[in-house]
């Protein structure tokens, strides 16, 4: 799964730590999600979507390989 977290965060001028504080998670978690090393659970994905005011599917997108599987 790929995501637009880094872009959305940059648009708002937030650091990873800022985003982590807003989501009440660690900066390492934000980093892991942004770099695709960790796919968040649905509840966390909803929290992220709520924070950015966008639907989940506008932030998290299936990668090409997942679409074909």
């Amino acid at each position: 799964m790929i995501n637009r977290l880094k872009v959305l965060r940059a648009e708002r001028g937030w650091s990873q730590a800022d985003l982590a504080d807003r989501l009440d998670i660690s900066r390492q978690s934000v980093n892991a999600i942004e770099t695709g090393r960790y796919d968040p659970s649905l509840p966390l994905a909803f929290r992220i979507a709520d924070l950015f005011g966008q639907p989940i599917e506008a932030i998290f997108v299936r990668s090409g390989r997942e679409k074909n599987s």
Binding site: S15, A17, A20, I25, S26, Q28, N31, P40, L44
Partner: protein
């Protein structure tokens, strides 16, 4: 902005400190009382001998509570992975050592050292998973 230790990790650290303090106190008590003339016998002897071990065992309870209380799902996943590595490492070393010991190639070692090994495994697991404070740094704080 630096994020401080979260409440779950703070509680874990506090529980760890209490467990270790309990271990030192009960071990001192047991060694002292068993070392006296006549020593200790009966149920009190069993209790005294078990208390230090129970204090050490409470460390695993504290780790279990940390897994339950950690609200950061990514950190929780890292902890689970770490504990799996630690358990696998400990069981592997214990098995190998057991056979080496059976054939007289290595000396006998008290089994309570397995706890030390498990915690060493936790550190090794941290290196593999890239947990906070592990030997592998995490970049990109932008």
């Amino acid at each position: 902005m630096t994020r401080r230790m979260n409440p779950a990790k703070r509680r874990y650290t506090r529980r760890l400190a209490v467990s270790m303090a309990g271990y030192v106190i009960t071990l001192f008590l047991a060694v002292t009382l068993f070392g006296r003339d006549g020593g200790v016998t009966g149920p009190l002897a069993w209790l005294l001998a078990l208390l230090p071990g129970l204090c050490v065992a409470s460390v695993f309870w504290a780790f279990g509570r940390l897994l339950v209380e950690e609200t950061d799902e990514y950190q929780r996943m890292l902890l689970v992975k770490q504990s799996l590595v630690a358990t696998g490492f400990t069981l592997t070393v214990a098995t190998l050592w057991g056979f080496l010991e059976m054939f007289g190639l290595v000396p006998r070692v008290d089994v309570f050292y397995l706890v030390v090994l498990w915690y060493l495994g936790l550190g090794i697991g941290g290196c593999f998973t890239g947990s906070a404070g592990s030997c592998r740094g995490e970049g990109d704080a932008a």
